[in-house]
Symmetry: C2
Subunit: 184 residues, 2 copies
DNA sequence: AAGGTAGGAGAACGAACGTTCTCAGGTCAA
DNA sequence: TTGACCTGAGAACGTTCGTTCTCCTACCTT
């Protein structure tokens, strides 16, 4: 197995474990066992656990935003594209094993002690917010709408995570629709 | 020092430390040192760390909701009372040492491993949501508004916590006002 | 074939931490 | 006074975990 494959396998296992149980509850040994990548290799690829955590957040960020954008792109109307964000959230919330937003959870766990993790969380949230900004601009809506939609989405993620139910996505969609309607 | 005083002192220190650095980064020994309550006494009052965490969340919940309700009660108009929730959030976000919502953070840290903590978080969020429900009902607004306002507030808490800025309270207030206006 | 290098398995190390124990002193009842 | 009990200070214990080290095997080069 070459380095690139080992890296992917390690990240696959790390993501599954970190997301499912929280970062601090997962030891490097758990990652070794789940991935089949030896400790030696693990520490070659990621010289410290923190770097594995950062890599996990970065890879997940790219995939998360890619999937969201792909889903949204299937809608033609600018306002429909905005509402599609919330439809995608509902699909995500309903996934088997959904346990809330990985970045919000990581921030609660490590934000106070790891600057690198806190930075990754902020970067992810900023990127999501900027993305909403482009959707809002494409719809010819005032820029402030992006912030409002962002807060609804974040609230839905937190609430779905804590309650374990996907309903908040529908509520957020409803609220978003009301906000859009008010701008017409 | 009697038991009740020791309990308060322990909880004061625990709250300061847990909230400021996260629960897992704080040892029982740190609580002992910061509170001046001996380990023996600490374990008499709270037979395990988890119970100290639960007690911290419960006491903070009572105070948090009490302060919010007191602030809101100063407003006479039902719709003003709803907006006052977001004004209070802004004050909270701007406080020295604000580090996000204690319950969201605790959930990210312990939700996956401690059922007792997860329960306290759900109870707190449910109580807050119910409270918004009473404000919405008093204003003669449709019940679904409570869910929308709740999501805005949760989104603001998360975002203020991650960014360290109080602005999300203002954005959420703006969005709430737009939602209220749409119902007139 | 010989020797060198990389990798895997897992033991080992050192620190942190939750929890319990020891010991010395103080208090109060009889 | 005596003795039972409580308390505080902090040592001690057992576990977990991040990280490093040891040892052995397999493969590549010459």
């Amino acid at each position: 197995m070459d380095s690139a494959a080992a890296r992917e396998q390690a990240l696959d296992a790390a993501e599954r474990l970190f997301y499912g149980r929280g970062v601090k509850s997962v030891g490097m040994d758990d990652v070794r066992t789940a991935s089949g990548v030896s400790l030696k290799r693990l520490y070659q690829l990621f010289p410290a656990k923190e770097q594995l955590v950062v890599a996990y957040l970065e890879r997940r960020d790219a995939r998360w935003r890619g999937q969201l954008a792909a889903h949204v792109a299937r809608q033609g109307e600018p306002r429909e594209r905005i509402l599609a964000v919330f439809d995608w959230l509902r699909e995500w919330f309903a996934e088997e094993g959904f346990r809330g937003c990985a970045w919000i959870n990581a921030y609660g766990e490590l934000g106070a002690t790891s600057a690198a993790v806190a930075d990754r969380v902020r970067a992810h949230k900023q990127a999501f917010r900027d993305y909403l900004g482009t959707l809002v601009a494409d719809a010819g809506l005032p820029a402030r709408m992006a912030g409002h939609l962002f807060l609804l989405a974040e609230g839905a993620m937190v609430t779905a995570g804590v309650t374990g139910r996907p309903d908040p996505a529908g509520e957020a969609r409803e609220a978003a629709r009301a906000l859009l309607a008010a701008e017409r």
